[in-house]
Symmetry: C2
């Protein structure tokens, strides 16, 4: 029988045993490194620890291991909607940027059967994450740095999923203005630089002289001005620094007119 024409008799096909939505929740946490110094920023991912025993009293699959938050999708919702719901259940926060980035359907990835994972990543500003509430069934929730996470024994194929999520977030950080989701509405150039450096390590980013000369003319950010007066802050420094905010400009780049 030809598949491409969708002739379909349910009895001829085995159907998947489950369809889940998993979410790699990233945040960037700041650690104070001294007064009048921009804090050091680190990319972290939120994982939950799977319970050893299910509610029904049976041993839980992959119990005791750290895993991505997520769960089974209901037929009346999409994987994206499920991700939004799971994330709000898990962290109590809403209105975040959530994006699909891959599907994991290798047979054997879940011993319970043919279970397909639709993977998303989400970005949470650290100030929202501190409100993180204890999970309903007291599952442990913790943030891990990228160094830490790859040393854990993760559930299922979540190690691979996280590796690929990390790759996507790096790409997005380079090519879109996602960085704004990690920053307050108004920010200072060194804060922007700090966020970018958590995932990118281009030399021109690290060199202050280059970054601070180029950044003020980036078309997608603008100086915050009130009554003709440029707004400044000394949040992180002795000398007052100019505040910026993202505007609606959508940058477009191409390898064919870039400089190398």
């Amino acid at each position: 029988m030809s598949n491409h024409s969708f002739n379909y008799d349910v009895s001829n096909y085995r159907t998947p045993d489950g369809y889940t939505s998993d979410i790699a929740v990233f945040t960037i946490i700041s650690t104070e490194v001294g007064p009048y110094k921009p804090p050091e920023k680190t990319l972290k991912i939120m994982l939950i620890k799977r319970t050893e025993i299910t509610k029904e009293g049976h041993p839980n699959i992959e119990g005791g291991k750290w895993a991505l938050p997520g769960g089974f999708i209901k037929p009346e919702e999409t994987a994206y909607e499920a991700a939004v719901r799971e994330l709000s259940e898990e962290t109590g926060i809403m209105g975040l940027r959530i994006k699909h980035f891959g599907v994991y359907d290798q047979f054997g990835r879940d011993k319970r059967g043919w279970i397909i994972s639709n993977a998303h990543y989400a970005i949470v500003p650290e100030n929202k994450l501190v409100k993180r509430r204890a999970a309903d069934d007291a599952a442990e929730v913790e943030l891990f740095s990228m160094d830490e996470v790859f040393q854990l024994d993760l559930a299922f194929d979540h190690k691979q999923i996280i590796e690929e999520a990390l790759w996507f977030i790096k790409k997005d950080m380079s090519l879109t203005t996602v960085a704004k989701n990690f920053l307050p509405k108004q920010f200072v150039l060194s804060e922007l630089q700090g966020v970018l450096l958590t995932v990118m390590d281009e030399p021109w980013l690290k060199l202050d002289a280059q970054f601070f000369r180029k950044a003020p003319s980036l078309p997608f950010i603008e100086k915050v001005v009130k009554d003709g007066e440029p707004q400044k802050t000394n949040r992180w420094s002795k000398n007052k620094a100019q505040l910026y905010r993202f505007n609606d400009f959508e940058p477009y780049v191409s390898i064919y007119n870039a400089k190398y």
Copy 2:
């Protein structure tokens, strides 16, 4: 019950009624516009026409409409493997670039039930596509330009899938060297320009003076040289033109150090 901990009792959940792999197959066809002129290039997509009647003699769902090639995934294969298989069954060609770009799981998109589509796009050089064989059950196969395809009454949500596939291929063309999959191993700058122009329309691309001055120094292509002699061709022009090929350089760009 908490979803994030994956406590799972099969009886509690409805499972999907099917999991399909659909493929947006793109090609660029050249039409001769005159002797010693580079041919005009147009982006086309391959669609198949769904039969009115199934093998079993029942009316086929969405019968008579044009649709993306694809089909149900078997439990022992991944959606990607299914895409490779379907594409080889359909066109008889292998070794193509195939990439996942999205999942379509809106309930109601397929009247047969809860059916999830894992969507891919593929790029086929036109010289391979001419070998396209008649489909096994004589389903009609045809190439459509982007203008044409959006005027058709497409099956399921395939219009949306194609729109998003087109968006992805444009992005990929700008940010990766996919263009090489549309070109012969050795090509001439005007051929590269023609391929890029089928999906991009930046001014510096259209302006020959700019494109031809910049292109020779792009780090991911190089002049074809044999025995110290630069290889040239007059495939498309009276004057011999330098042949280029892609090398292994992987370009990286970012919105933060681009020019605007």
